[in-house]
Symmetry: none
Subunit: 200 residues, 4 copies
DNA sequence: AATGAATGAGCTTTCATTCAT
DNA sequence: CATGAATGAAAGCTCATTCAT
């Protein structure tokens, strides 16, 4: 039953996972300066590995962004879906969803900035786009159910999703620019707004 | 029907303004591939000028993006503010605003994509940031007035603005990705959603 | 018939000889920044002519330096040779020579700097080298005569010339660098030194 | 017999020092064509390294000339000062000095040409100018002592230095142009001339 | 005749990638 | 495996020269 029982034994000499170090370094730099604006040797330096080492873990710079994009998008998707109250009513589900992305935004601002900046970039490959779709799908299902339950406006689920996710993203961006404090308080207010935007 | 739509938009003596040609070429390429992802000679080729010519009109590649950013941001701001019904009630003003950005989004998708992609980029200079602020200001005023008139929720105007602009941007982005048709119809529905998000 | 038609036409509005203006501008810039370090449009700007105008007077940038080199070298040669006291004894001739180059150095520091910097440059053509030789010749004759008169050491006239001209050039250069004041006084002292260097 | 002349000057493990190779290549090219007349890829080709490699060792082309200038100027200074007979009388010291620069001129004509051509160039930095001064200083001291000893004319040491160094440079330049053979013989004659130029 | 906007070859410099160690 | 020095293709930019006006 307990998933945790399978946890890998972490040795005292924690293996300095270079792959992760590279991804972490790339995350910060790509989020800050963009893909084309970031030199591979800079990523290497930040990750404290040799420049050549990056090419032992990733075929190319493009492969690196794609791996990173997939890692982050999946982490975001997991954060939302994990323990999702499938049996709760739509409003409670929406609250759960908003709460999760709020927590995520507060805990992982760089990751969110990276995902936003590289969204739909021409160098993202088929796998990255597939991950994108997979993460999107649950939201689609939620909106369809909520519409069927006549709790949410009978509009294209895509439109509803775009509005809500866009509003959330607008909030996060404004906060990143210092126009707005991103507090649990303000996030709660924003949730109410968004719910009223979509509720029937 | 808008009477103005029939007016000729091209002057008889169509001056082959190279500066404009360069900006237009840069707009498309920067919107598609980003600033660092676009080589200057590519801009020159698209603009049908020599590579050196770009440097007769712009000091550097950075100066070019900044000029372009300012041109497009100001055009967007003008499109919203022009003939704004300052004496109408908030709901009508909101409708005017939404209508204007809708028309703009439909007529200028590339311009909008460019502005979104280069928003708050580190290579934007003080002037570009000042233009950004200037274009933002009217929205701030609108929300304050609407709050005072007790028509809109008494929240931070910045938060309200971020939600609405974010929602609109989400819509446009989803449409660009082909997830959604961007029709006058869907835009009208989205407007209602957004109004309900912010109204008291 | 107009009587004036025969007179040299020095109009009140002195003809703005563009060729001279270009040469003068090039002189200053080449002396300061060297041939390859000076852009042709910069010369045009300093000469207050259009960039294209330079190419109406000179076939190329190289043709310009060569014309300038020849003008300045010949002017220097003329300044030395003009009214040269061919019948005076060697010491008096040497004094005359030294006096002339001293006057020249004080009156034309930029010209001298230009000649020194472009001496034997690979872009100087056959004509420039011929002018160089022609200007050098009288010195050669002087030294030969002085040697025959047993007034000067019986050494290779070239060697004597190289020493004296080198010493003078060293003086001028030190003065240009501010290490030394270039006064009639110090020039006279230097003359004595140089004479003692070569006299028998 | 000098014992040191038998010592091997090349270490067994001859390190293919790329930095030195670049400096050596730059020396030849800068001496021949000047700083602005020499393209970096040409230096790379002559040094048998990739063009990018130069920028691993030198921040810029300017940094390269400066490093080279300092290397050569210091080598020249060391060649003069090394084993200088500080306790000998001025005439012997002068002979030592002249002998050293003669040997240097015969062994390192390209180095001397480089130093002469780039003397006081506008792209030389503060360090280069400081090295220049440091190398100049001993000569200044020599002249002051010789003047105090009433062996040399009581003139500005700078003037004396400028004359002697200028004369030597004139000689070297004339030799480079093929006007003169630069033999130990002619150098010795020139030394006598220069001594008589400055001696009391 | 004079101009200066326009050009593109060629400059200095960067950087994704390789490979000897 | 890991490295980082080395590379050369390609970037941003300059400038000698041309040519429509």
């Amino acid at each position: 039953m307990n998933v945790h029982s399978m946890l890998p034994t972490v040795t005292p000499h924690e293996k300095p996972d270079k792959r992760e170090a590279i991804l972490d370094a790339a995350l910060e730099l790509f989020a800050e300066r963009g893909f084309h604006g970031t030199a591979v040797p800079l990523v290497a330096e930040r990750a404290k590995v040799g420049a050549g080492t990056i090419y032992r873990y990733f075929e190319s710079k493009e492969a690196l962004v794609n791996a990173l994009y997939q890692r982050e998008k999946q982490a975001l998707g997991a954060a939302i879906v994990d323990a999702f109250p499938f049996d709760s009513p739509p409003r409670a589900q929406f609250h759960f969803f908003w709460d999760r992305i709020s927590v995520y935004a507060l805990a992982h601002p760089t990751e969110l900035a990276f995902l936003e900046l590289h969204h739909h970039a021409p160098y993202l490959d088929a796998t990255s786009r597939a991950v994108e779709e997979a993460v999107l799908a649950p939201a689609f299902v939620f909106f369809q159910n909520a519409i069927e339950a006549q709790v949410v406006k009978p509009l294209d689920p895509m439109l509803l999703g775009a509005l809500v996710w866009g509003a959330f993203t607008g909030l996060v961006r404004a906060a990143r620019e210092g126009r707005l404090p991103l507090t649990p308080e303000s996030l709660l207010r924003a949730e109410e707004c968004c719910w009223e935007a979509i509720r029937r």
